[in-house]
Amino acid sequence: MNVAVMKTKFEQSLTEQFNHVSARLPGGAAVGVARKAALGRFSALGLPNRRIEEWKYTDLRNALKEPLAVAVDDDTKVTVADLIVALGPLAHLEGPRIVFVNGGWRRELSNLEGAEGIEVAALGATLTAAQDKIGEALAGTTGPDNDAVLALNTAYMTDGAVVRVGDGVEVGKPLLLVFMRAGNEGRFVATRNVVSIGKGAAATIVEAFIGLPGSTAEGQHNSATEILVGDNARVTHVKIAADTGKATHLSNWMVGLGAETVYRGFQLNQGLGLARNQIFATYHGEGAKLDLSGLFLGRGTEHIDTTLVVDHAVPRCESRELYKGVLDGEARGIFQGKVIVRPDAQKTDGKQMAQVLMLSPDAEFDSKPELEIYADDVVCGHGSTAAELDTDLLFYLRARGIPLDTARSMLIESFVGEALDRIEHEGVREVVLEFARGWLANLGR
């Protein structure tokens, strides 16, 4: 039996808008074909809903009812002074910086000084200039075909960074990619980054999703990053999604790991109305180490979902996941961690942990670890906890004269610290801590 599902206003709008904007989306004929095919997939799939197992805690169909206009050729005025305010703690981070406003590269706000050893280009311009084969490659993804969010990304992506670090190049300063939401009208923004790290190279890449203070609180960002890490390379990849309350953040990372690589990924989520962070990590070579960690801070009715799929396709690789959450009010946190160990992936070593601090009886945490193990000589473990602040420790701190608010902040900070410690780059770690502290300082207010 074929059941025709009625399209929601959002689904209908995002399907129809394509006809109006497709001519202005970057890319040659092959990219156009890829976009159209992706839109067709989205149209057929519709937004994911709770009947799809991977999305049972995050029903996008239900959550995203009101469509927004797709951002193309956005020209919202943003000055350098505006940028500095919006960056907050990130303003002090030393290193090259590329800024996108509502999905478009802003040359006047960007600064590529110190980017020696890194080749960076705008995805939009690259798509337009590229020959069909390259365009096709950039428009393709290694993510799942049946992911409607990723399909929307392909259909509507306007810009992003194409980053290449050559073989053996060690980049000291972090490369900062800033995606800013600005203006009085909420927009649907789609961006994509394509990153390739050469063999034996080392780099730190930070993606930041922020809102310009004074802008509308509405906004939807659909972001995707493809990152391929060459053999023996070391990468720290950090996302800071720190907004002001209502925005929707849908993100996909597709991580490919060469042999003997060390890849450390960290994601901070705070101040987002609705967030879904997907990471698909696949090992292509033996002896690689993957370390995924993150911190999600939720209050009010915020909804923050982290969904990982770690695919041990080859032997002798290591995976570590450590996620920490702090939930207040009626906030909801979701952690889904799938670890697949293929039949050949002997000597796999995987450990997963998700821990949440519940500051309110009305907060909710759903945790779903999934281990799919087909090899017999492996070590895999997972765990998950949800707890309140330790009242004995609170008393101890207060008995030393520390006021309740400070004592709570200290204990929360100590709880999240273990995850932050996974960020190898000290400057970046400090920035993340400052963001988190800013969030904690407003607790209960």
């Binding site: 004995d392 101890y396 701190l397 207060r398 008995a399 030393r400 004269g401 400070t406 900070e413 100590s414």
Partner: protein, 251 residues
């Protein structure tokens, strides 16, 4: 002066009374010992003085310098000079000892109307006081009490006491878990803090601590109230006779 008047205490979520009409006065400049059998209410008294929420005062009052403290939050009491050295100091993973000490020191200084210590000032004071307690400065860079031995934890308590400069020190079984050498270091640390402006209440099960911290008075606590008060020689008598004569009396 500490004045405890006809104090009655029960567990907050149970009806069982633990302290039943305890009256006690400790003037400034004096050290009083409280001795008693297990389950007599010694630790409860320590916690109630510090303001732990698990206990409820059902009758009576506690005055410190003439002011009732029973409605005060623990941090307010600390600012007023009340300090409890815990029998079991807690481990705080992820909070460095120095951060903890500095936050605590400056919190009480601020509340007392004193200027907060700058980082160099603080470090100078803490280095000096830590070395007197044989505390390795590097230990303070580690998370509070995490992985510390029993003796290290107790010395860390006395260092906190020295930093917070309290006027009422309550020491709960400070001798438990200490070997002779550690006991000496801890006792020296406590004795160094004896002063005409400071009252001390030393709670202990055994007499040996009182050889090092010599009290002005000794009180026997059993069945939730003070059963007997005497001089330091009372501690030695108790060591001989035990607590049997004070138990079962109320029943």
């Amino acid at each position: 002066m500490l004045e405890i008047k006809n104090l009655h205490v029960k567990l907050a979520d149970e009806d069982k009374a633990i302290i039943k009409g305890l009256t006690l006065t400790v003037p400034k400049g004096e050290v009083h010992a409280i001795m008693g059998p297990n389950g007599s209410g010694k630790s409860t008294l320590a916690y109630v003085l510090a303001g732990r929420a698990d206990y409820e005062v059902t009758n009576g009052d506690i005055l410190w310098n003439g002011e009732s403290i029973i409605e005060m939050e623990p941090d307010e009491r600390a600012a007023k000079g009340v300090f409890l050295a815990f029998q079991y100091p807690m481990e705080i993973p992820g909070v460095a000892g120095l951060t903890f000490l500095r936050t605590a020191t400056n919190s009480v200084r601020k509340k007392r109307g004193q200027t907060e210590l700058t980082t160099p000032e603080f470090l100078k004071v803490v280095k000096d006081r830590a070395s007197k307690l044989n505390i390795d400065f590097d230990m303070l860079k580690r998370p509070v009490n995490v992985g510390f031995s029993g003796g290290e934890k107790k010395r860390s308590e006395i260092l906190q006491m020295a930093m917070l400069e309290p006027s009422l020190c309550v020491l709960d079984e400070t001798d438990s878990g200490l070997d002779i050498d550690a006991l000496k270091v801890v006792s020296d640390g406590v004795n160094a803090l004896r002063s005409p402006d400071r009252a001390m209440l030393v709670i202990t099960h055994y007499q040996r601590l009182l050889n090092h911290i010599v009290p002005d008075k000794v009180h026997v606590l059993a069945e939730g109230r003070i059963q007997k008060t005497g001089g330091k020689e009372l501690a030695l008598e108790l060591e001989q006779s035990g607590y049997a004569e004070f138990q079962g009396k109320a029943a």
